[in-house]
Symmetry: C2
Subunit: 327 residues, 2 copies
């Protein structure tokens, strides 16, 4: 079963012609799962080989504008392109508390009646996910009585949020530290037993492990011990690296990471592949770099030096990474 | 004094790689006035020769998403690029009632504290600007007590809304009929008396007339008699033409215009130059049209046939139209 990740926006703070605002798509079994939806994501979809109509789940890591201001427009366009189908399952949207009200208010104000069902599941952050003065309760928000969706509190034993579990996979969220509460997501396939020799594999106690993909929102570190456990031996870890190592102080001040910080976490988790993204717009893609402009490949070198030379990938808009099945 | 108009988005319904969502800039005396701000407008600015930092006024014609979903992101990016300046005058934002709450809620939810001052002036529409079942009062919206800005009701004598008046110009809004209340804007320079021969001109009672630019939001017709009066003999009329004449019924059903409808209004107002925009995404720019795809130049022919051959311009993204001074 093929599985791949396509980056639709790899820039931080705002969209630019060289790096869109945050968005990436995990594709599996013909479904697209969208992680973050910065302004312009629907146009990036059109420029890519992916079809926005295949989106079945949307995950928003945190409520900074460059991660979710594209959501109202994307939902309206999906609606324009959809035909009413009473059997169609709803699009599940996951994100921090406050997101449901924003979507509802945006649809209401723009007189948009979406022709497909959707539900918004809101994650309730904990106070230690951001500086104390930045924490907001949003307790005054109206509730859209008509909208469905759960309010998800952290499991105090696991230190994580269980979002999806079916026969094939488990999807959990965990806490990150940022200027405002931010989340990481882990998609983990359950172990398979080979179809043709189930009994033999069972006898050998050797099920084939599933793939594990970790996608982190903006952060300068994690909160609690769940993140390292959940990301342990991930096949792919997607981590932000907004600024290069020489600007670590500034990065931390804004709740961001450098390549070294990302690689330290990757090393701790023994991940197999580290992909950096969410670069300051000053780092143009290598092919478009002008004279005297910042060199993005320096970020690759900084991360690789922590990982003893293990190759690190720098994300670019429209780059696709295949995640092969294990044997 | 030079004056020009640049189109940043000429497509309807949603942004695409060939036509951005609605946005155009009127530039005068180094200031940029932005009319509509669909998703992706900030990126279109970056691709153009214009500087978003020069924006001093923003006008939103109506509250469909393809006309204002780019506003929160644009404001955040303007803030990132601005330096705090206590003497800087506020950016004036004009739009239908409900806009202030949306901006405030979007900024609040995304923890965005804009570093420049802005005020939102809200136009209160009348019930006859849309089908009765579509009218919404938005009377339940919270007020942002901290935000400044006026609530503008229609002047019942003039049948219009006075937005700006100074020594040089007058800017008024008037009512359009659409699926939801929509507005048109008229920017009219006051007559000048030539600097070197003021007395002579006064004696001759021949002041040099100012330029008049009319920018209409989505519509299938106008409401009341102000529109024709205000647009009379305009130098430039920018009018939507979402679908071609063969689809007039569908256009009207969705509150839109065809080239003939736009040209009929232009003829009634005796405008000097008609520019069509807000095209269905099926009409690609002529240079990018593929085999079997709809022909945008047909819309030009349809409008010109009403105007007895007077040339009509079809807007494209990044097209600039100069409006010369009168002599």
């Amino acid at each position: 079963m093929s599985m791949d990740i396509t980056f639709l926006g790899t820039g931080s703070a705002y969209p630019s012609p060289t790096r869109g605002a945050s968005a990436l798509v995990l594709r599996r079994e013909g479904e697209c799962w969208l992680f973050d939806c910065g302004e312009g994501t629907q146009t990036q979809f059109m420029k890519s080989h992916l079809k926005a109509g295949r989106i079945t789940k949307i995950f928003i890591t945190h409520l900074h504008g460059d991660h979710f201001f594209g959501l109202p427009g994307l939902l309206c366009t999906l609606s324009l392109q959809s035909s009413p189908d009473p059997n169609k399952p709803p699009v599940d949207i996951y994100g921090p508390f406050g997101l449901r009200n924003f979507i509802w208010r945006s649809m209401e104000l723009s007189h948009s009646q979406l022709l497909f069902p959707y539900v918004v599941h809101e994650l309730v952050p904990t106070r230690d996910q951001c500086p104390a003065e930045e924490f907001k309760e949003f307790s005054d928000l109206d509730r859209d009585e008509g909208a469905q969706g759960r309010i998800l509190h952290m499991d105090p034993v696991e230190n994580s949020y269980l979002l999806v579990e079916d026969e094939q996979l488990v999807l959990k969220a965990f806490r990150l530290f940022h200027r405002i509460p931010s989340f990481g997501f882990v998609v983990e396939e359950k172990p398979r037993t080979g179809k043709l020799n189930v009994q033999k594999l069972k006898d050998l106690e050797a099920p084939i492990p599933g793939r594990k993909i970790c996608i982190l929102g903006d952060c300068s570190g994690v909160v609690g011990d769940a993140a390292v456990k959940l990301c342990c031996e991930a096949d792919v870890l997607i981590h932000e690296a907004t600024l290069d190592d020489t600007q670590e102080e500034k990065a931390r001040e804004h709740g961001h990471s450098t390549p070294k910080m990302a690689a330290d976490f990757a090393k701790l988790c023994k991940v197999k592949k580290l992909v950096l993204t969410h670069f300051s717009q000053r780092y143009k893609p290598a092919a478009q770099r002008g004279e005297g402009e910042s060199d993005i490949t320096e970020l690759k070198r900084q991360a690789e030096s922590v990982l003893g030379g293990q190759e690190v990938t720098l994300a670019e808009d429209f780059m696709t990474i295949e995640i092969p099945m294990k044997k």
